[in-house]
């Protein structure tokens, strides 16, 4: 439109007759010729984005390309126009005016293409970012998933090999329990909750193994009220805590030790505690062991500020790890 108007004004200015049909026809012809070169510009936009380094180089390439393409268009259209239309302007006027027009037109197109490409890339980035976020949460969830300590795994297997000769049934039981534990940990969903009673059943498999391995060196007591037993807790939350009690408590003792698991409701919270009479935490209140930080993160993810984990020293010696969760009971 602009081009047509421009040429009409030009002709009018020169006091030449304006043949609108021809004018429009010619203009369209030129536009189609331009269209041939637009793919070139598109390619240049993708290949040499003006907003990416090296900006100066990319910009220069675009300018050069626009000039080249304009010249090429003219080289095609000007000689060919007379074949279809009556010449309205002199050859010189055609070239000069035409060149200027083409440069403007191509420049506008190039700018538009850049804008479109920029927008496309921006959208891609947004999508990628959203995907990454989703993936990351996944990865984090994976990491938070309950994991069986390799130390526990290999020591238990070793114990089982010893039992094979002397007590094949015992070896059998140990390996089966280990298999069950593994299956449960692999299945454990960090966001999943189970009634405490079920959680204790799972823990019992772990304890059964530890009892055989530590042969009378450890006594485990549980003190769980019936109401607490129905409370919902994150699945597999107890095992890492009890494992800590074994590893940092009992394993450091040169005398028999005791672990206590206590659960009771307190107002609208459930208080879940694992105590041992071992040497006590290295730095009270610290609780920076990996197992504990995982548990903390799970609690935060599931309950936010309504849940807490405290590591402390027991007055008579030993360690206590306390979890406070919102009390929610399973439907009876």
């Amino acid at each position: 439109m602009l081009v047509v108007a421009d040429r009409a004004i030009f002709l009018g200015y020169r006091d030449r007759p304006v043949a609108w049909g021809t004018l429009i026809g010619q203009t369209l012809f030129v536009w189609y010729a331009c269209a041939l070169f637009i793919p070139v510009l598109y390619w240049a936009t993708r290949r040499f984005p003006v907003d990416q380094e090296p900006v100066a180089v990319n910009l220069s390439i675009h300018v050069a390309l626009i000039l080249a393409v304009s010249a090429a268009t003219l080289a095609i259209t000007v000689p060919l126009t007379p074949l279809f239309f009556e010449r309205q302007t002199t050859l010189a006027e055609s070239f000069a005016g035409g060149f200027f027009r083409e440069v403007l037109a191509f420049g506008a197109v190039a700018a538009l293409l850049q804008a479109i490409d920029f927008f496309r890339r921006y959208q891609e980035r947004q999508t990628r970012a959203a995907q990454l976020e989703a993936q990351l949460s996944d990865a984090q969830l994976h990491a938070l998933r309950a994991q069986l300590n390799p130390h526990f795994l290999f020591n238990t297997l070793n114990a089982a090999t010893a039992l094979i000769q002397r007590d094949p049934r015992g070896a059998d039981a140990m390996l089966t329990r280990l298999g069950e534990l593994l299956r449960l940990t692999l299945r454990a969903d960090p966001a999943h909750e189970t009634p405490l009673a079920e959680e204790l059943e799972l823990l019992e498999r772990y304890l059964a193994i530890m009892r055989v391995r530590f042969e009378g060196k450890v006594v485990v007591e549980t003190d769980v009220s019936p109401q607490a037993a129905r409370a919902m807790v994150p699945s597999f939350v107890l095992q890492p805590l009890v494992e800590n009690a074994f590893e940092h408590g009992m394993a450091r003792l040169q005398r028999p030790g005791r672990i206590r698991i206590v659960a009771r409701p307190e107002g609208d919270s459930l208080l879940l505690t694992v105590e041992d009479d071992g040497p006590g935490p290295v730095r009270p209140g610290d609780g920076t062991g990996v197992g504990l930080s995982n548990t903390r993160r799970r609690l935060a993810g599931l309950y936010g500020a309504a849940a807490s984990l405290t590591l402390g020293a027991l007055p008579a010696g030993g360690t206590s790890v306390s979890l406070r969760l919102p009390l929610r009971t399973a439907p009876a």
């Binding site: 290999f154 020591n155 070793n158 114990a159 010893a162 040169q254």
Partner: protein
């Protein structure tokens, strides 16, 4: 004794592991090698060290994670032993899962076992041991220095220990890291100042420095490291030197090469 006799005499072994079933496993595996005779079984590091010093076995199977002294600390004590007492035993470390330790063992060509203990690997290791002991065993000095090298490497991987082993007149005991006020170089030893008393540990200042948390301990002098938490005064003496006064009353002077941390603290 002729070489032939030496080849046939029993090889005395001490086993140390806190789990009875783990000890049983080793017992079962050694049963197929009648030449090896178990002279003691220990459930913790203290027992292991005592047995190693009293029974003087040729081989010591050491679990790395044990209560009391752990396997690394037992090896450290044996390595620092009086060289007149002869070579330390050939130590075979046993570990359930410790990439770092295993790497250290391989680099130092130490014999080691992973749990669950594989019978074939065990048998192959026994053959190696027999060959090594049949050749007269390790020279007293070599054996100790090899162990010392290994221990130094293992310690690097074990982070900041919560306590240090001190050998006292009546045996060894522990000093908790959080109670250490300061450490001073003292010949081949580092003297730890804790709870008003001095305790000697056989370490170099450099190795001690690497084993304490730099956020809690600062080296103020070629021969002095102090606990930051227990500093009460820092007094500038000019020339980038300071006098540091500790909670227990002890005073130390810093030297210029080590002034930066103190300068930061003063600010």
């Amino acid at each position: 004794m002729t070489q032939a006799d030496a080849k046939r005499s029993p090889i005395r072994v001490v086993i140390a592991d806190d789990e009875p079933l783990a000890r049983e496993r080793l017992r079962q595996l050694l049963a197929s090698h009648p030449r090896f005779e178990i002279v003691a079984e220990c459930a913790d590091g203290d027992e292991a060290l005592a047995a190693a010093l009293t029974e003087k076995p040729e081989v010591l199977f050491l679990d790395i994670s044990m209560p009391g002294l752990d396997g690394i600390e037992v090896a450290a004590e044996l390595a620092e032993g009086d060289e007149r007492a002869g070579a330390p035993p050939a130590v075979v470390f046993v570990t359930a899962h410790d990439h770092f330790a295993v790497r250290a063992f391989e680099v130092n060509a130490t014999d080691y076992l992973v749990k669950p203990v594989d019978r074939e690997r065990f048998d192959r290791m026994i053959v190696r041991l027999e060959r090594r002991l049949g050749d007269g065993g390790d020279d007293a000095v070599d054996g100790a220095s090899m162990l010392r090298r290994l221990v130094a490497e293992l310690r690097v991987g074990s982070g900041y220990p919560p306590r240090f082993v001190v050998r006292g007149p009546k045996g060894h005991y522990f000093v908790r890291t959080e109670e250490i006020e300061a450490a001073r170089a003292d010949g081949n030893y580092v003297a730890l100042l804790a709870a008003g008393r001095t305790h000697l540990v056989r370490e170099t200042m450099k190795s001690f420095e690497s084993r304490v948390d730099p956020a809690r301990f600062v080296r103020i002098h070629r021969s002095t490291i102090v606990s930051i938490d227990r500093i009460t005064h820092i007094e500038p003496l000019g020339h980038a030197e300071y006098r540091v006064t500790m909670q227990g009353g002890a005073r130390f002077e810093s030297s210029r090469p080590y002034c930066h941390v103190l300068q930061a603290l003063v600010r």
